[in-house]
Amino acid sequence: MTQLALVIDLNVCVGCHACVTSCKEWNTSGSAGPLSDFNPYGADPTGTFFNRVQTFEVGEFPNTETVHFPKSCLHCEEPPCVPVCPTGASYKRKEDGIVLVDYDKCIGCKYCSWACPYGAREIDEQQKVMKKCTLCVDRIYDLSLPEIDRKPACVKACPTSARLFGDVHDPDSEVSQAIRENGGYPLMPEWGTQPANHYLPRRKTKLRIHEDELVRADNPLKIEGRLPKPALSEPSLDDVTSW
């Protein structure tokens, strides 16, 4: 069974919002209708987005770290939003595990958004139906696109390759390897939703220098620097003279 998902590498996300704008552009232009905005140039602009980048500061000054945190539907393997839907508009696809909303069946009761602990669903105030990330389902299977473009718009847009896309049930896929080898974790595991999307943590590359590496163990006389230069006629020995 396939479970498509995103793996988001917080170690390389720079918080540029390219995934947000690219997602909005692709999904507001599709056949499912626009992602409505209200008051876009006014004082309180608001609108529907499938993907948002948030920023958190972790730690206390001066030991702080800025974590940019892209947030979208996690396509849970046990999606709590699906069984509560009274109409069946909200569903999880058997073939690839994508959680979708049928905009023609949704009655806009918002119950599914209450049932999502991540706040991944947003209502479209114009169309009055619930919307959420589709993993660009209208793009990843589009055979008219070159194969390299059959990826979600956010993945294509990311300048630092912080977003990986693939099948997390295939142990050899790029995403599975990334999760396995780089400590990928799900969000809010305490609710048992088993999110398919995973996040890769901040990872520090540390150079560990031991003391015996600072002072050369193979130099018992602790002689550093240039050694006296012998005359041309004298014999030369490595480590005793320099030439």
Partner: protein, 318 residues
């Protein structure tokens, strides 16, 4: 959560309607077993009409909650998994039962169907009332489980939610029945008034229990599990939008903690203390109005108090 007035009115109105029907059938049961003089069927017919009025008003209110009310018929589809879908089915079924019960009494069409060994007559309205009673309880359970089944809304995820919906709806219905009986069936006003006071006191206990429970809740989620950074101090610096979003409007009540505390004391007084006093003084009509206002406050508080874990992602704008 942001309390939606459509849902506040839906749950309080149908609660009163269900309670009123249960009160009517209580009187009929007492009469069937010979514990009370039989009532004029006009009392049952009028009571059913009033109950039906409350149910219809609740149903109308619920439509204001929907973005696409014209598609509401679709919501009966997923009754296998969704409590909301079950409520959508049980509410009209219960309304039908109340309608038939009222019509049977109004038309005087009440044939004797059987007689129990102890010479208790089983009439048509008794059977209809039994069905209606089952449906009334089923509706209470469905309505409450819509909220109680959401496990990460910890304030709601408790059997007390179901118990309180039954007790609060029952109390307001019995108070309403007492008010109606004062005019239409004075000989049962004492019985109904007694039950109304008992139910109001029980509802007060149940609600107090849930208030105590919720005051001691420890949230299971934190920003640490929400973004997966293991540090006690995580501060949000941006939420991805500065003008607000669905997430900031739907899941925050936008009031101060002090305001919430005030509402709590207001509903404790209006829904429980004052009605008990007014019932004791024999002013059932006033008791119902005061209690209904109190229940509106109670339901507003019920929604506002629920703290959705998604709010962790919306702690600061910039």
């Amino acid at each position: 959560m942001h309390p939606a007035f459509s849902v506040v009115f839906l749950t309080t109105l149908i609660g009163a309607g269900q309670g009123l029907f249960l009160a009517l059938f209580t009187v009929e049961s007492y009469a069937a077993f010979g514990l009370l003089p039989g009532q004029d069927s006009r009392f049952y017919a009028l009571g059913s009409a009033v109950a039906l009025g409350f149910l219809v008003a609740g149903l109308v209110a619920s439509f204001f909650h929907l973005g696409r009310p014209e598609r509401a018929w679709r919501s009966a589809a997923k009754w296998r998994t969704s409590w909301l879908s079950r409520e959508v089915i049980v509410l009209p079924a219960f309304m039908g039962a109340v309608f038939l019960y009222g019509i049977a009494h109004h038309a005087g069409f009440n044939p004797l169907l059987a007689t129990l060994p102890s010479a208790v007559p089983v009439r048509l309205t008794f059977l209809l009332g039994m069905g209606g009673t089952l449906l009334a309880f089923a509706l209470f359970v469905c309505t409450a489980m819509i909220y109680a089944c959401l496990r990460f809304l910890q304030e709601w995820h408790t059997p007390l939610t179901v118990i309180n919906y039954i007790l609060l709806g029952g109390a307001s219905g019995f108070v309403l029945a007492t008010a109606l009986s004062a005019r239409w069936a004075p000989e049962v006003a004492g019985l109904l008034g007694g039950w109304a006071m008992i139910l109001t006191a029980l509802a007060c206990l149940g609600r107090a229990a849930s208030l105590l429970r919720n005051a001691r809740l420890k949230p299971k989620s934190s920003l640490r599990t929400a973004i997966g950074a293991r540090h006690p101090r995580i501060v949000q610096k941006a939420q991805g939008a500065m003008g607000g979003s669905f997430n900031t409007r739907e899941f925050f009540h936008g009031r101060t903690p002090g305001f919430l505390r005030q509402v709590k004391w207001i509903f404790l007084v209006l829904a429980f203390a004052l009605p008990l006093g007014l019932l004791a003084a024999g002013a059932a009509g006033a008791a119902f109005i005061v209690q209904y206002l109190g229940l509106l406050a109670e339901r507003w508080f019920f929604f506002a108090q629920a703290n959705h874990p998604q709010n962790l992602y919306y702690q600061g704008v910039s």
